[in-house]
């Protein structure tokens, strides 16, 4: 298994298959980050395509003194925020997802498949402010330190700490609102 740096070296030498490996490795987490900001899965995929094209074009400028993921996430986050500026209709997914989930809301969570659990968690995350969802994902999913989150997002460390704290309590509140006592089965 090649490391990110080894793959980047190969890409710089013109190896396209190395870029494919790099995309395969990071696409899902990157999409989750884009979804935190855009609240629309299909739009997030488009933005992610755009982000990876930027990564490919700028790979020569990548400095090996920082983690590749920090650099990648920064590109994904900036591209997502730029897309948000262009697009005002941001609540489309939330409403649509809520309608879809309303049909399964009465089913106990332990009987739901893992995929459905994922839908509930994502719906709760969609209800949070984009900064809170983004910071939560960067901290718990990407396992970045606060200083690394600051580099990726451009937020101050104090803002990150506040967003983390609010994000935790808001996520818990939204899950309880969605699932009631069934939340214990989810945890």
């Amino acid at each position: 298994m090649h490391t990110d740096f080894e793959l980047i070296e190969k890409i710089k030498q013109g190896d396209m298959s190395a870029f494919r490996h790099l995309v395969e490795r990071h696409k899902d987490v990157s999409l989750s980050l884009a979804c935190s900001i855009l609240k629309d899965r299909s739009r997030a995929e488009d933005v992610l395509q755009e982000s990876f094209i930027k990564v490919f074009k700028k790979i020569d400028t990548f400095q090996f003194n920082a983690a590749f993921t920090t650099w990648l996430y920064r590109i994904v986050i900036n591209t997502s925020y730029n897309a948000v500026k262009k697009e005002k209709n941001r609540h489309h997914f939330t409403q649509e997802a809520e309608e879809k989930l309303a049909t399964t809301a009465d089913i106990p969570i332990d009987k739901l498949k893992e995929n459905d659990q994922k839908k509930y968690i994502n719906l709760a995350l969609e209800k949070l402010r984009s900064e809170e969802a983004l910071v939560l994902r960067l901290f718990y999913l990407c396992e970045l330190k606060i200083s690394e989150i600051a580099k990726s997002t451009g937020f101050s460390t104090s803002k990150i700490k506040v967003d983390l704290s609010r994000g935790r309590s808001n996520l818990s509140f939204q899950l309880r609102k969605l699932l009631g006592t069934e939340i214990d089965n989810l945890l």
Binding site: R20, E45, L48, I53, K118, I121, L141, L175
Partner: protein, 109 residues
């Protein structure tokens, strides 16, 4: 909610891309590599060159056309103003054409 529970929840929140995501991306990159980038002269250079050309041509025209027009004006009554106006109009139309080209290029992008 405990930290470990929250971490487990967030791990479950990973959104998977569609099956053809990577193939579509690689195809897009191949298309990009095949397409030769259009090399355009920068807008500032075009404007500077147009203004410089306009000034030089106006001076030349003034230097050579004015005596000729003065001679000609003895026999034929030609007004200088409409000629210079037409000349300036042509230059402005040229500049307008360049600007429209630039705008259509931006729209293409």
């Amino acid at each position: 909610m405990k930290e470990e529970q929250l971490k487990n929840l967030m791990q479950k929140s990973t959104v998977a891309t569609s099956d053809d995501f990577t193939d579509a991306l690689m195809q897009q990159l191949e298309t990009l590599e095949e397409t030769q980038p259009i090399k355009l002269i920068s807008f500032r250079k075009i404007v500077a060159f147009s203004i410089a050309s306009l000034v030089i041509l106006s001076l030349i025209a003034y230097q050579y056309v004015t005596p000729f027009l003065s001679e000609l004006s003895g026999s034929v009554q030609i007004n200088k103003t409409p000629i210079f106006a037409a000349f300036l109009l042509l230059c402005l139309l040229g500049l307008n054409y360049v600007l429209r080209l630039q705008r259509s290029y931006r729209e293409l992008l």
